[in-house]
């Protein structure tokens, strides 16, 4: 226990980096996820195919591989970003595939008649998606999106592989000096668990407020 208190400033700094990773990459994942979902349900076959390809590509590749490839590979073709930016973009792009799948299931849960009615009223595809389908779809996928958020939180721990000093990386460094893995990693684990618990609590509350009785 005392090890954790002694190294609190470093661990706190690591936690802040983890928060940055979570917030920025989830924001990116949310935006990209909506775009990909729109592509997947659009009436244009090429866009649908692109959306499917995106989801299949990023769901089927391990995040660690993507991180290492982007960090060491892209500079070879002249694209070089800092480790933190690389991690945010890669985690965001990767999780967007999962956000897109969650959203698509929500879109599918909205009755077909809704879309048809929207088009009958003269709304364009974008308008009907934005004003009719997505608001209803989002309500049904609050819980799955919360799960994606939690998975993203845990996945940020991989950023240490490309030299981002997040909470896990700090815990490793502290352990290197103190040699007390159980106390240190349980402490770091509790921090992740706390984030997950808050998200879980928030999504449950949100779902109750947004629930639609059909």
């Amino acid at each position: 226990m005392s090890v954790l208190l002694e190294h609190l400033p470093e661990l706190w700094q690591g936690l802040l980096v983890t928060f940055q990773l979570i917030a920025a990459s989830f924001a990116l994942a949310a935006v990209l996820g909506v775009v990909v979902t729109a592509m997947r349900v659009s009436p244009v076959p090429v866009l649908r195919a692109l959306g499917t390809a995106y989801v299949e590509t990023f769901q089927n590749l391990p995040l660690l591989v993507l991180l290492v490839l982007a960090f060491f590979g892209l500079p070879e073709i002249g694209i070089k970003a800092s480790a933190l930016v690389t991690a945010i973009v890669v985690i965001g792009v990767y999780q967007a595939a999962y956000v897109a799948e969650a959203l698509r299931s929500g879109v599918n849960s909205v009755g077909q008649g809704q879309g048809e009615a929207a088009r009958a009223l003269g709304l364009t595809f974008t308008q009907s998606l934005r004003l009719v389908i997505l608001p209803q779809a989002l309500r049904t996928v609050v819980q799955p999106l919360g799960n994606v958020f939690i998975a993203l939180t845990m996945n940020t721990a991989l950023a240490g592989a490309i030299s981002v000093v997040d909470l896990t990386a700090v815990a490793n460094r502290v352990n290197l000096v103190e040699a007390q893995p159980i106390a240190i990693f349980v402490g770091a684990g509790l921090a992740y668990a706390a984030v997950a618990a808050v998200v879980g609590f928030a999504t449950t509350r949100l779902e109750r407020r947004l629930v639609m009785v059909r």
Binding site: V68, F72, P75, K80, A83, G160, A161, I162, S163, V165, A169, N172, R173, N175, L176, V177, E178, A179, Q180, P181, I182, F185
Partner: protein, 303 residues
Amino acid sequence: MRKMAAVVALSLLGLAACAGNESSPAVPGAAKPAGDDLLSKAPVADAAAILPGSTMEKIKKRGELIVGGSLDAPLLSQQNPVSGQVEGFDADMGKALAKYIIGEPKVKIVNSASETREALLGNGTVDVVFQTYTITPERAKQVAFAGPYYTSGLSIAVKKGTAGIAGPEDLNGKKVIAGANTPAIPAIKKVAPQAEIVTFASDPEAMQALKQDRGVAYVQDETLLAANAQKDPSIEVVGNPFTQDPYGIGLKHGDEQFKTFVNDWLKKMQDAGVWQQAWKNSLGTVVKGEAPTPPQIGSVPGS
């Protein structure tokens, strides 16, 4: 889909095959001749030394020594992708200890990491740890250390032509690359507190990062850097090692009997010249000169 399943099944088989090779049953002709030669000279313990009820007896009965080590540390403990054998100084020492206890160099290497070593020893998953395990008083509270069996030091590598880095103090305020979970991190913090440390899990990654200017210098074990500089002419090692790291053999905390036993073995290895031969076969291939004098057993706080 079926094709994919077949590919997955095949690769799993491949993995299983690799895993099987980790325990090296010393098939004649399979290992490198040098390694065979080395192990044939390695001592075997007297039956009287294997005390009843001791850890040694347990290992002998099992017929296999379980070693916590790396599979990716060049010159020390690295799995040869062709033969599947784990080669290097630490690996040879592990095999020699297995021969001392069992009579045959049968080892199973459990890939351990710096964050799991203490736990693996504590709960008995591994018998010993040979993994550039620097003896420190903090660690000695969790595990017992036999040895030290080797003393190493950290050096600095830079891209050729880098100006302004002649010693560790020059790292202050600069971006410095280090291996994740290596003693380099606390060492840099000590000599250059203002340095920004970026870490990578493996040595090739750290080298790539140095070449891509992710940091101006790379701090790592001198032997490893010497080997890197030899392979890659764009890298050079500057100055002399700035630390002294005594490597110990990690054992379960409180097992004094086993510790004495391992220390006796280490002494015999050094007297018989097997230790020196193991050094020459591995680290000696990149460092010039004769094998160094082995460190005095029990000479470091914590050992």
